[in-house]
């Protein structure tokens, strides 16, 4: 993104912004496809509707219209962080245009579909792309302003009125997040024959949501809200959990989406556990999914499933605790080499443990894992006389089956978040961060690094084991195939994509990595390819993740990829400084 900054002289900023915004508005009002595609009218009737009701704008064109109008207003009204806001809107419009153009062109058999064919014209996507590019160029011509800081004490309020006002802001903000999550989940429908255009609609919506969040971030709103929520932590957690509980009551409260959301919750919980090991303590674990697996198989054997060798039938809470404990013990065992092994080598040790687990599970070790035939027939969790796969009636609302699992996983994720947050600010958390930054220095300061590192593995593995117990009940089968190396990489990618060492990061990362494949099933063939490329690109352009940890930035000056010499680190610092300088220069231009 920064590459594009300052391509234009400042004088052209406003004309480009205005023209770009206007083009986005126009694009939203133009037809997008010249003819009816084979699978029916293009999403939101971008073709047909134009002819019978050109102004009845819905779906992605409605979103584009919102972006365009907002940009048009902001092009003339000065607000703090204007450049950033407009840039975000520009990228959003561009994304919507590109998704539409590519999809209609490839589906409709060529450029004719998005330009002119059979006497009709449909330049919507092309105009949107042009508008997006113009807006991005225009918004960056004046340089990228700093994100404005908003005070957390506002309107001259103090005492309980201030607290009340802050609470209102938080409720509104989290409510907005809930609404956005619900919209994101349901955007485009569940795909398949019923929704042939689910993929592009969803991607276009992501462009819109990204533009919205980017604009709010650029205006300093997200930072303000996050600081408010830090100051009112207890209340925020309460609201957050309440919002999560409210999700089934929204559009997204169908059986299908509840199941998806519960699965995401399992992976999010696991990712937070991994985040303790990788994000806080800086220990790279490439076999982490094994702990999820251990928890899963232990729980399966204690579930009373007919196919399990042990066949014990324990109440779920007991079984889950045992599963977590066993996983934790294995975590400590896997972590014990950290006493002697560091860095890359430790990563390989964990990879080896993961592979040993996978192979052993594949071969039905001790007849505990069922091998290739897995352990089927695991009964659903049953507590208080209710089986968790039953639908539920609550406050007069019919909630679909699977919703109980969703509620359970929300509680577990909230608990794990609380554990993580407390650990991070505890003595042990500071020890972990110290180890991550410089292990030798940490040791010199009197931190018992060995104990701390093993504890990190133990805690992380325990959380994964707990998640595994829920996972296996929800799924109904425990199969070794769920725990292969690629899953470990995916979890790691979730942590990195979200931002190492931060809670929202792990949850966001897990959500993205597990929602996207669900949403884009028609591109399933390319899922892994995109995943691999995404890993490369993230590391190249945003290694700190989407929600960076403030402390963690310090690490950039530490150990480097090419060895540990201080000179190199210094040299790199100089180079970085230069880059920053030249970037500033570009910005100024």
């Amino acid at each position: 993104m920064t590459r594009l900054t300052g391509f234009l002289p400042p004088a052209l900023a406003r004309p480009f912004n205005a023209v770009g915004a206007a083009l986005l508005v126009i694009a939203a009002l133009l037809p997008w496809a010249t003819f009816l595609l084979n699978d029916g009218a293009f999403p939101d009737k971008a073709t047909l509707q134009f002819f019978d009701a050109p102004l009845a704008v819905t779906g992605f064109r409605w979103q584009l219209l919102l972006i365009g109008v907002a940009a048009l207003v902001l092009a003339f009204v000065r607000i703090p962080g204007q450049g950033r806001v407009l840039r975000a809107l520009g990228w959003g419009g561009l994304a919507i245009g590109v998704v539409g153009a590519i999809f209609i062109a490839s589906e409709g058999g060529g450029l004719g579909a998005i330009t002119a064919a059979d006497g009709t014209t449909a330049f919507g996507s092309i105009v949107a792309v042009l508008g997006g590019v113009a807006l991005v160029l225009g918004s960056t011509a004046l340089g990228i302003p700093d994100i404005p800081d908003w005070p957390t004490r506002f309107f001259g309020l103090s005492g309980w009125p201030l607290r009340l006002a802050a609470w209102v802001v938080l409720v509104v903000a989290f409510g907005g997040v809930l609404y956005l999550v619900s919209l994101t989940l349901t955007a485009g429908g569940i795909g398949g024959a019923a929704d042939p255009y689910a993929g592009p609609i969803f991607l276009a919506f992501l462009g819109f949501a990204g533009a919205l969040l980017g604009a709010l971030h650029g205006a300093g709103v997200t930072r303000w809200v996050s600081r408010l929520s830090e100051e009112h932590r207890g209340f925020s957690i309460l609201v957050l959990v309440a919002c999560a509980f409210a999700l089934p009551f929204t559009e997204a409260g169908s059986q299908y989406w509840m199941q998806v959301a519960a699965t995401i919750g399992v992976y999010a919980a696991t990712a937070i556990g991994l985040n303790i090991v990788v994000g806080l303590a800086g220990l790279l674990d490439l076999g982490y999914v094994a702990f999820l697996g251990i928890g899963a198989f232990v729980a399966a054997n204690l579930s009373g499933a007919g196919a399990s060798a042990l066949g014990w039938d324990l109440p779920f809470p007991v079984a889950a605790l045992i599963a977590a404990a066993v996983a934790g013990v294995f975590g400590a065992i896997v972590g014990s080499p950290t006493l002697r092994v560091r860095g890359d080598y430790l990563a390989i040790v964990t990879l080896a443990f993961g592979e040993i687990f996978y192979r052993s599970a594949q071969n039905d070790i001790g007849e505990l894992t069922g091998g290739a035939s897995a352990i089927p027939g695991i009964p659903p969790i049953s507590m208080f006389g209710t089986a968790f796969n039953e639908p539920l009636e609550l406050f007069g609302a019919e909630l679909p089956s699977g919703v109980l699992y969703y509620f359970l996983i929300v509680l577990v994720v909230a608990a794990i978040m609380a554990v993580f947050a407390n650990l991070k600010n505890s003595r042990m958390g500071r020890a972990w961060i110290a180890i991550r930054e410089d292990e030798d220095a940490a040791r010199a300061m009197g931190i018992r690094t060995g104990k701390a590192k093993i504890l990190a593995f133990l805690v992380g593995a325990t959380l994964a084991g707990l998640a595994g117990a829920i996972f296996v009940h929800k799924l109904g089968t425990a199969s070794y195939e769920s725990f292969q190396f690629l899953e470990s990489v995916t979890l790691l990618a979730a942590v990195i994509l979200g931002g190492m060492g931060t809670i929202p990061g792990a949850v966001l990362g897990a959500s993205l990595l597990f929602v996207l494949p669900e949403k884009l099933r028609e591109f399933d063939e390319y899922r892994l390819l995109v995943f691999g490329l995404a890993l490369i690109l993230i590391m190249r352009f945003r290694p700190q993740g989407l929600v960076p940890d403030r402390v963690r930035r310090a690490e950039l000056a530490g150990e480097t990829a090419m060895g540990k010499s201080i000179e190199e680190a210094e040299e790199q610092a100089v180079l970085e400084h230069e880059e920053a300088l030249s970037a500033q220069k570009e910005d100024r231009r």
Partner: protein, 238 residues
């Protein structure tokens, strides 16, 4: 005599920390010039910037009339500047001979390289006797000889020596300084960085005092030796 190396208002930073703020000096062809100053004054950083290991933030470095401020490290040697780094940095797991051959890495004239190697062995007979031994087995003084010899192997026009006397016995230090004199007489221009200010200034045609990243004083070596401020600050005499 003309200026072989001209450093003007050089500024180098590690991140936000400015290690060198404004260093300017001139090295004329055939001279020995030394930079003296306290630890952390920015002398080593200056040399590392001249050889391209660090990038200047501002200022210019001109060698033989051309700016080399932006040239990458591996091309600096080819222009005729050899750098014997602080702490010797010999390749410990390679033999003496291999270390010297690396010094001549950019040269393709094998017979000339052989000749120069023999010259190094004449200058430092102990290296010749143990040419097949790994450099890591050598004493500090011997490693320093190897580092200087290695820098000579490229037939530089300008030889930069960073703290050649560091950690050496007085006798060994004297030998190294004698060698530096010999090299100068053989036509090599020398830029010397030393904490041993007394010996360095006595040897140098010209000296510069670097303090907190700035060149503060300059003059012919003997004048600086006599300067009271220098005596007070660096020679331990009030």
């Amino acid at each position: 005599m003309s200026a072989l190396l001209e450093v003007s208002e050089l500024s180098v930073a590690y991140g936000a920390i400015e290690a060198v703020r404004s260093v300017s000096f001139v090295v004329e062809e055939g001279q020995i010039v030394c930079l003296i100053g306290a630890n952390g004054a920015g002398k080593t950083t200056t040399l590392r910037t001249i050889s391209g290991l660090l990038r200047p933030r501002a200022g210019d470095i001109r060698f033989d009339g051309e700016s080399i401020a932006k040239a990458p490290a591996h091309l600096i040697l080819g222009r005729g500047i050899a750098h014997s780094p602080e702490g010797r940095r010999v390749f410990a797991r390679m033999t003496v001979e291999e270390n010297l051959l690396l010094g001549a890495y950019t040269r393709r004239d094998e017979s000339g390289v052989q000749q120069d190697m023999n010259r190094v062995f004449e200058l430092f007979p102990v290296l010749g006797e143990r040419r097949q031994q790994k450099a890591g087995l050598f004493s500090g003084g011997e490693q320093q000889m190897l580092a200087i010899g290695r820098a000579m192997m490229s037939r530089p026009r300008l030889l930069m020596l960073d703290e050649p006397s560091m950690g050496l016995s007085p006798i060994m230090t004297q030998r190294i300084f004698d060698t530096i004199r010999e090299l100068q007489q053989g036509g090599t221009t020398i830029l010397l960085v030393e904490q041993n200010a007394l010996a360095a200034l006595a040897l140098s045609d010209r000296g510069y005092v670097v303090d907190l990243g700035q060149t503060t004083l300059e003059g012919p070596g003997h004048d600086l030796l006599a300067d009271e401020r220098v005596r007070a600050a660096y020679l331990g005499q009030g």
